[in-house]
């Protein structure tokens, strides 16, 4: 198994740019880390999860559904010209990706999503490169390649044929991982505390058992200013709004990320609104991931990535709310 330095990886990713549209964690102007191209800033594999949801590479904030040109001809986007390669999924992010792959393919296949997703290469990042040096859980699969940081270099683990073929092209001389390194890293990963996951599980059970009273949701809802950040940061949130716009003689049907925290999200033309109260919307945000999706998909769809907690300006993200639920209603 190879190990590579950040610089070797940078060279590797750069060499793939002719074949792939490569997205890697980069540090921007003011230090914000995003998934961008190598030209946007220095490669920043270390520092933990990317604040922005990595699934946005396949399901961006704004996308075209189709264009109708001046001659009234429909133009639907096909598969992207260059396949996408994304580096930077954490173990939790990969769980999210697995779910939205399922979500976008079951029943009806969302071709707009799969135009980007099909043929893509997904690279996970884990090991000792979390925020402030914390250990990030090793995914052990669900991606083509995983880069596991041992504190000095990234162990390159390929899980798919495509991943193996690509990683063979990574140039990293004399870098064979010493015997036992992966075992040690795996043990470290397995020993990570699971407090947050446990809290979410417990909260999920309490909600499903009907142990959370209505006034709790009222209380949480009073702190929601409907900024929509929780939804827009969540890798398993897939809701979108569709609208038409004319542009230079063309008509573009477009979709943008939507949020169930908005009053207009379910408001019908008649004015009837099944989620017309803040409390109903707050309830939905938590209940959907922890109870409704369990019913529908057989599992929770909060993978405990923590992004909604990071972006919520009033501290009512998933983890905070679940903590309150467990404290009050266990």
């Amino acid at each position: 198994m190879k190990r590579a330095t950040t610089e070797q990886l940078r060279t590797f990713f750069a060499s793939l740019q002719t074949e792939f549209d490569v997205y890697v964690p980069v540090k921007l102007h003011d230090g914000t880390r995003v998934l961008g191209s190598l030209s946007e800033g220095p490669l920043a594999l270390e520092g933990g999860k990317i604040p922005q949801k990595p699934t946005s590479v396949f399901f961006p904030q704004f996308d075209k559904v189709f264009v109708v040109d001046e001659q009234s001809k429909f133009q639907m986007a096909g598969p992207v010209a260059k396949p996408i390669m994304v580096v930077g999924f954490t173990a939790q992010d990969l769980d999210c990706l697995e779910f939205i792959d399922k979500f976008f393919s079951e029943n009806y296949r969302d071709d707009i999503y799969f135009n980007k997703r099909d043929g893509s290469v997904v690279v996970g990042v884990s090991g000792r490169c979390g925020k402030d040096g914390e250990f990030m859980k090793i995914a052990g699969g669900k991606c083509d390649i995983e880069l596991i940081y041992d504190g000095e270099r990234f162990v390159v683990q390929a899980y798919t044929d495509k991943g193996r073929q690509l990683s063979e092209r990574l140039v990293a001389p004399d870098s064979e991982a010493p015997a036992g390194l992966m075992d040690a890293l795996s043990r470290e990963s397995d020993a990570l505390p699971t407090d947050d996951e446990d809290t979410i599980d417990k909260a999920s059970d309490l909600i499903r058992a009907g142990k959370v009273p209505e006034d709790f949701w009222d209380d949480i809802a009073s702190r929601c200013i409907a900024c929509t950040s929780c939804n827009l940061a969540c890798p398993t949130c897939t809701c979108f709004e569709v609208y038409d716009r004319k542009q230079n003689g063309k008509m573009v049907r477009q979709r943008i990320w939507d949020s169930c925290q908005l009053d207009g999200f379910m408001r019908e033309a008649s004015g009837h609104n099944p989620s017309g109260r803040q409390m109903q919307r707050t309830h939905r945000r938590i209940h959907h991931k922890l109870a409704a999706d369990v019913e529908r998909w057989g599992h929770k769809t909060c993978m405990v990535c923590g992004r909604c907690d990071d972006v919520c300006p009033t501290e009512i993200g998933m983890k905070s709310v679940c903590k309150m639920i467990v404290e009050r209603f266990s």
């Binding site: 559904v65 189709f66 109708v68 429909f74 639907m76 979500f103 976008f104 079951e106 029943n107 009806y108 296949r109 969302d110 071709d111 707009i112 897939t238 809701c239 979108f240 709004e241 569709v242 609208y243 038409d244 004319k246 008509m251 049907r253 979709r255 939507d258 169930c260 999200f265 379910m266 408001r267 019908e268 033309a269 008649s270 009837h272 099944p274 989620s275 109903q280 309830h283 939905r284 209940h287 959907h288 109870a291 409704a292 999706d293 369990v294 019913e295 529908r296 998909w297 057989g298």
Partner: protein
């Protein structure tokens, strides 16, 4: 329980691409509602079942779910009864014969006529709810032999706001149906001699129904369901015998955009037609 319905229609390459269809006729139903008769290209059939909806597009104005108001047994066209409620529907009301609209679908669950076979049907609709119900009524009209006794109840705010007035008369005359109509009120010095004055719920207590053999179908404005269901329960009907069709804000019609979710169910995929026992415990469903 995981309720996932399989798509009825073969997956097309592009999920969101509408098929251009021609409007072959437009008829006023009320000052607010018009009936559009539409043909698929190249003589195709829409291939829907009663109770399903389509996504209707007018380029530049958007897309909205509209129930098919005609039965698949009427071949060569399908009909949409549409209220002018906003941007898209307003634009539609400006179109006329020969104009094009985009269609995706049909989508959603339907009134399962196979499961209804041999049953007495109690078809209850209010206001605009008659549009989707009409697809089932027409089906029953064309294949009365498949069902038992068929009763149609319809309520509207005022006589002039009633949809499909000619159909209502026609059905009332038909031996296949027993029809009972109501209006909430009669404004000014108008009169209403086709039925009762009062909410639709007044039509239910006098009905004689064979509780074991009856299936009730309800389509109407959101406020209607609770009261009608309560009346039916008083008659001894259970949630397993009641079908409802619900309306939700829908953007995609195919279970992706998330707007229509009722807890774990998507109204566009798992509905709009539900057995009442599927949804009765769910928050915000009724």
């Amino acid at each position: 329980m995981s309720v996932i319905t399989k798509p009825l229609r073969r997956e097309t390459e592009h999920l969101y691409l509408p098929i251009p269809c021609k409007i072959v006729s437009v008829r006023d139903l009320t000052p607010m509602e018009k009936l559009f008769r539409i043909q698929m290209p190249d003589g195709q059939e829409l291939g829907h079942k009663p109770g399903q909806f389509i996504q209707l597009s007018i380029l530049g104005y958007g897309e909205a779910p509209i129930s098919v108001a005609s039965s698949p047994t009427r071949r060569g066209y399908f009909e949409l009864g549409v209220r002018n409620a906003g941007t898209l529907t307003g634009a539609l009301h400006h179109l006329s014969e020969g104009d094009e609209v985009g269609i995706r679908g049909p989508f959603g669950t339907f009134f399962d006529v196979e499961k209804l076979a041999g049953k007495d049907l109690l078809l209850i609709s209010g206001g605009c709810g008659l549009a989707p119900m009409r697809s089932l009524i027409q089906y029953c009209q064309d294949r009365p032999e498949e069902f038992g006794k068929i009763t149609i109840l319809y309520g509207a705010k005022t006589p002039s706001e009633r949809l499909f007035k000619e159909d209502l008369v026609d059905w009332a005359r038909s031996p296949a149906f027993a029809c009972k109509y109501a209006v909430d009120c009669v404004p000014g010095d108008g009169c209403f001699d086709e039925g009762e004055i009062g909410l639709i719920t007044v039509l239910i207590p006098p009905l004689k129904i064979d509780v074991q053999k009856t299936i009730a179908v309800i389509v109407g404005p959101p406020v209607m369901y609770k009261f009608v269901i309560a009346e039916l329960k008083k008659k001894g009907m259970t949630e397993e015998q009641i079908i409802v069709s619900l309306e939700r804000y829908m953007k995609c019609g195919v279970g992706k955009c998330g707007h229509c979710a009722i807890e774990h169910l998507y109204c566009c995929l798992d509905g709009p037609v539900f057995w009442l026992n599927q949804i009765s415990g769910l928050r915000g469903a009724i």
